[in-house]
């Protein structure tokens, strides 16, 4: 089972790919307002890419509720097989 930091590191790679920014560094506190080009359309692409990478599915309610990258990472961890 990966750690929360492992998950955030994997999310960072996904963010870099989707947002086409090799210099991007996200952390647990990162929100959309911190990241250039993280808009409503790229948010959809990020969610889809994250779901595919981790082989999970979010609900709309979960996506709406996450306040930052860290909360999404915790949500991912809960969905990963033990």
């Amino acid at each position: 089972m990966p750690s929360k930091n492992d998950v955030i590191a994997q999310m960072n790679d996904i963010f870099r790919d989707v947002l086409d920014n090799d210099d991007l560094e996200i952390n647990a506190e990162t929100t959309a307002s911190d990241v250039e080009d993280w808009d409503s359309l790229s948010h959809i692409q990020l969610v889809v890419a994250i779901e595919k990478h981790f082989r999970i599915r979010f609900t709309t309610a979960e996506i709406t509720a996450y306040k930052n990258v860290g909360e999404m990472a915790e949500g991912i961890l809960k969905k990963l097989p033990a």
């Binding site: 359309l41 969610v47 889809v48 779901e51 599915r57 979010f58």
Partner: protein, 130 residues
């Protein structure tokens, strides 16, 4: 509503009207598209049709041929595999490959084939429900 693994098929023809319309609309008069002699000298059978014409067919497919009308395209990914020529009838075969309920987004994988059954392009489109 569309379901995972739903399949679709649509036939499109690269007509003179489409070809000339594309030339006039976008001004891509590169000799590969307009000069048959040059195209043959490069190993092609005739003037090669603009690949983006297939993107136009995809646009029609998404906007008009799918059962869902309240959709918006997020991304097109289109890989060209073989040339297309004026008059070619292309068969588009598409399948709903994925659906992300959380963000109401479908991924559709597709391939275009010419009348000889040769694949001329493939790719995927992601669309959102609006």
């Amino acid at each position: 509503m569309m379901q995972l693994k739903d399949q679709f098929e649509q036939v499109y023809q690269v007509t003179e009207q489409i070809y000339v319309g594309f030339l006039n609309s976008y001004g891509d008069n590169n000799p590969l598209h307009t000069n048959a002699e040059l195209a043959r000298s490069k190993g092609f059978r005739d003037r090669v049709m603009h690949g983006a014409i297939q993107a136009g067919f995809l646009s029609h497919f998404i906007g008009e041929a799918l059962p869902e009308k309240d959709v918006i395209v997020h991304t097109y990914e289109l890989h060209f595999r073989n040339p297309v020529y004026l008059g070619d009838r292309l068969t588009l075969r598409a399948v709903i490959a994925d659906y992300s309920e959380s963000v109401r987004c479908f991924e559709i994988k597709f391939r275009f084939y010419n009348e000889a059954g040769t694949e001329v392009s493939r790719g995927k489109v992601s669309i959102g429900l609006i």
